[in-house]
Subunit: 71 residues, 12 copies
């Protein structure tokens, strides 16, 4: 058994009408459908669309790190 691990990082953009935290949660929920062993995220960029002079939705770009199985 190896005594070290290797992780992969992928980059997603989550969106939400509600909040930055909700956009992060939506991206994680989507990634969780196909990625296992997700361990951490890093926010890379926060932006959003404007509709009628207020926030239409937040767009949060984040990197997600997960352990490669059997690494």
């Amino acid at each position: 058994m190896s005594n070290h691990h290797t992780y992969k990082k992928i980059e997603l953009v989550g969106s939400s009408h509600t909040s930055i935290e909700d956009a992060i949660g939506n991206a994680l929920a989507e990634a969780n459908k196909s990625v296992k062993n997700m361990e951490w995220f890093e926010v890379v960029e926060t932006r959003g669309h404007i509709v009628n002079g207020s926030v239409g939705h937040y767009q949060v770009t984040l990197k997600i790190g997960f352990k490669i199985a059997d690494s």
Copy 2:
């Protein structure tokens, strides 16, 4: 009729006693008084003032992009 558009970006700092999202919303609301066709924003910096050891208000610097009319 032109088949391309030109956008301008301006940089504002919104503030709020409540949340980062509210500071963003306040900046957009203020910009909306004089700017038309606002389409997107990008968060550039998040900071704030401290009062009595807790957040006095959040200050969020953001760039706002809007389409130049008739461009």
Copy 3:
């Protein structure tokens, strides 16, 4: 009496299960136990741990500026 001031900046990482704002507040509350004259903070990085496919807790790195007493 001096007519200028000197400030020191320290770097903390606050965490919260709830929100980015709460992680900031937790770091300030902790710093407030030993640091006086805190005046402003700057968010340096936002990240977090993932537990069972959703946010376990947010980790917000921030710099805190405070006036050096009698400076």
Copy 4:
């Protein structure tokens, strides 16, 4: 007469279906309608939209510097 000048920089996003150079030119042409004494530009970001698997249009963010009249 002053022996120095002050310049202002504005940030625009030009777009084009054809090329990066054309997107720059479109932004300058649009700015030229209302700004005088434009002297230089700096490319800040190059991106674009994808339509049917190829470039729909290029979007080039640039800063434009112009001399403030009578400065």
Copy 5:
């Protein structure tokens, strides 16, 4: 039906003997063979190889964003 979407970003390097635009187009064409719903790209780096004192080929690193199906 969800009222928000999640996007993934991948990083490619396209190359071309002709132009920067052609290197971008080549990367998109290659990605288009296996990726659906590509919506935008961002140029990350422009470089190239030199052959006999002139450009052998351009190498353009770009990120491509696409909507995750059913997100």
Copy 6:
């Protein structure tokens, strides 16, 4: 009366034959002709022209923040 404020940031380049501080002051003096409520500046870049092997003039790019009236 609102209990928060919104600020706008503009980007200028001041120049001076004398010093970096003088270039900053010249930019502020020029901005002061048309902008009210200027509160802070941030130096973005320091450069200059060379004439006969010594500094012809300093060019200091700075952002200026001012409160939007009635915000």
Copy 7:
């Protein structure tokens, strides 16, 4: 036959109790199980965990570039 190639870059984090070079090697070995035509890597970040006041293991984030087959 095409006279240009397209490359993809992925981001991994390798770890090692021994050295930075070993952490890089471990990430490459893990990637080599499933990725073909790997050509180069770029170190993005070097960090690590501390155990009992000394390095527990190094964590090296790197990007790996590989040629897309038949591109």
Copy 8:
């Protein structure tokens, strides 16, 4: 006796009504009250407050490196 040294870096903000150099000197003078073996500084940011359309005071953020005694 060890043949290597360890240094610590702290981050201060000095201010001055006069010049950037004076703001640096004020920060060093303040640090010198409690820190020994200061060896170098690095300017991180230059900004300032504006009063009546001209510089109220310069604020220079700098890192100061000092040798840890007996390291």
Copy 9:
């Protein structure tokens, strides 16, 4: 008992005649004399002095994160 923790980050420069890893280890060993609960480090910069055309010693700037006791 609090269900979250606050961490502090300090910045050190370790040096070594031997290797980058040894410079990191020396900084950690020095910090370990006075800091408890050190958990992770991040390499910020790698440089060094040159003596007679080869490396005299490596200088590695790193940030060290540690849990604030009772936080």
Copy 10:
């Protein structure tokens, strides 16, 4: 015979009235008069002068890497 090579990188600014690619080519052609073994270039900055509201010439800053002979 050594089994490794050392490269040097120099920084040039090429200009052209026509295109970004042509500005790169002009810089390489000029470097080629005195530099041997040029292998690659990296674009560092793209900017230009504006004449009468359109691009007067593009200025592309690039780094050029070449193998040091007999290294």
Copy 11:
């Protein structure tokens, strides 16, 4: 006669006991001994040595651009 020019940029560190401007001037004076056609400079970094708790000398890293003769 060519209607475009190529420039080269070199990187120097000037120092001075007096001021940042003087350190810039010293670097330019030194470069002027061997380099012709110097046109502009860009400040890359400002730092310095500390002697007895105050500035021993300023060290300003700058890039100098000059036209390549006959380009």
Copy 12:
């Protein structure tokens, strides 16, 4: 005799099959053939080529600072 010095910085890429430190040493050894008074180096980038799924050689870009003679 002048009481200040001017330094020049050059950028090299050293390579090695063995380690990052060896790549740095190889670049310094090569520079040492033609450059005098080398005083320090700064690592700018660490990357490498991959051969058969493991490191073929490390490539370390570094800047080397040396005192200009008689400056």
